[in-house]
Assembly symmetry: C2
């Protein structure tokens, strides 16, 4: 039966084992070089609150702290409501392996009433998805699960250049195989962008996100309308300094709606020359 | 004796009452209209980890979730290390009043080794602090504790305009009375910016930050060099939609060093016309 389910749905399966405690399992199709795709960890922590029967309101904010490498195998996730108000609800989550925390997280949900609306941010310009070529995926791993098509600021491996390249990228992101958009999938996409350090350095540098914050600007009904269409993402950075760089990203629907923004702090090891 | 201490130091006093548990107290000089200045809550939660004897490393990331209104009086803050690694340390904190959570937080600390450094972001241009006039403080409260001088995008109260104004502001921020910069003070400054909704609407709208994430790009030694000089801040927003808007800000030293960036999600109540 599992063969007929999308690998992302299999990878984000949560088995309830106790009130507010879930069991999850790492997934080969979303494996990264040395651990799971970070977006999958974010999606699992998000889902531990989102899928909880006590959750109230639409997803609004999520912060995930990647505390330690996640090993192949089982993860235990604890999620509890920290505070429930009339129109907002706050959650605290953590992921453990062998009794040790490997990630911590908080999430916020809220009612989304009709209000004054204003959207000063505009989507990046990019040629259509169909006209761009797919980033050749490596042999295996999570990158095969996404159809990434760079419109601007692609990865380069010409590391001999002395000048830092632009930190900014714009790319289309589709699921492979296609999968209808939902909040668990969107939570994963907020961590889809490569660490800006490898764009700037044009060569591989050891890096990893240590803290990710995602804000959701769409509601469930908006996402349901999107179906499996690719989304347009853009990411940039302000500063690379003493082992950490920042990164801010936007995720847009093909018809120009801002679905989510995310911010992250990325650890890198790139000794001073 | 208290009279000789800076009101910010008094307001961020933490009394240890147990391993990892602190007692704090709200402070009239940093009172807002209906609760404490949010930056003070952020500073207290930050300090509960930063001042803990088990803390290792320089401040790197902080997320504070404002779960509920904080009433005048005592707060209990619990801070515990979630994970300690060789070069990074993650913390989980919460603030309680009468046994109920009013704020949750996470923080990350890390070593800041010499690495490749790159600073694509440039400071906003602004006339010198001395040439600008101070935002007239209201009768009382936290705004009197900061000397805010808008270079661009000041507050306006011409709410009859139909068109949204710019969400972007640039301003100098000094402490009043002056206070040497440190991380506890910087944590508070990451929440100094008014909710963009009142800039855009040019009138008062009920609003409050619900989640704040701050990234620190300076080290302790950098801050120690700054002394009590004002810092230059800039804030902007991408989207205002169904009760929430985002907000991203930068804090720069007068000599053009990016000290911190912050991102927040702000709740607002501004019914659709």
């Amino acid at each position: 039966m599992q063969g007929s389910r999308h690998p992302f749905d299999v990878a984000t399966d949560l088995k309830p084992i106790d009130d507010g405690t879930w069991l999850a399992h790492t997934s080969e199709p979303y494996w990264n070089m040395i651990g799971p795709f970070g977006g999958l960890i974010a999606a699992l922590l998000f889902k531990s609150a989102y899928a909880h029967p006590e959750r109230e309101g639409e997803p609004v904010a999520l912060t995930v702290n990647f505390c330690a490498a996640v090993a192949r195998g089982e993860m235990r996730i604890a999620a509890r409501p920290a505070r429930t108000n009339r129109s907002t609800q706050h959650w605290t989550m953590e992921m453990l392996q062998d009794g040790e925390r490997v990630a911590t997280a908080t999430a916020m949900f809220g009612k989304r009433p009709d209000t004054f609306t204003h959207r000063p941010a505009k989507p990046p310009s990019a040629p259509p998805f169909e006209g761009l070529s797919r980033l050749p995926p490596p042999d295996a791993g999570w990158i095969e699960r996404y159809d990434l098509r760079f419109a601007d600021g692609s990865l380069g491996w010409r590391g001999e250049d002395r000048e830092p390249a632009s930190a900014k990228s714009t790319l289309w992101i589709g699921s492979d195989p296609p999968r209808p958009m939902d909040f668990v999938g969107l939570a994963a996409l907020t961590d889809i962008f490569f660490g800006r350090i490898i764009h700037v350095r044009k060569r591989m540098v050891p890096f990893g996100t240590v803290s990710l914050t995602s804000y959701f600007h769409a509601a469930e009904a908006d996402l349901a309308e999107l179906g499996p269409d690719p989304v347009l993402g853009t990411a940039d950075a302000r500063i690379f300094d003493r082992g950490f760089h920042d990164q801010s990203a936007e995720l847009w629907s093909a018809d120009g709606r801002l679905l989510a923004t995310s911010h992250q702090l990325v650890y890198y090891r790139d000794p001073a020359p």
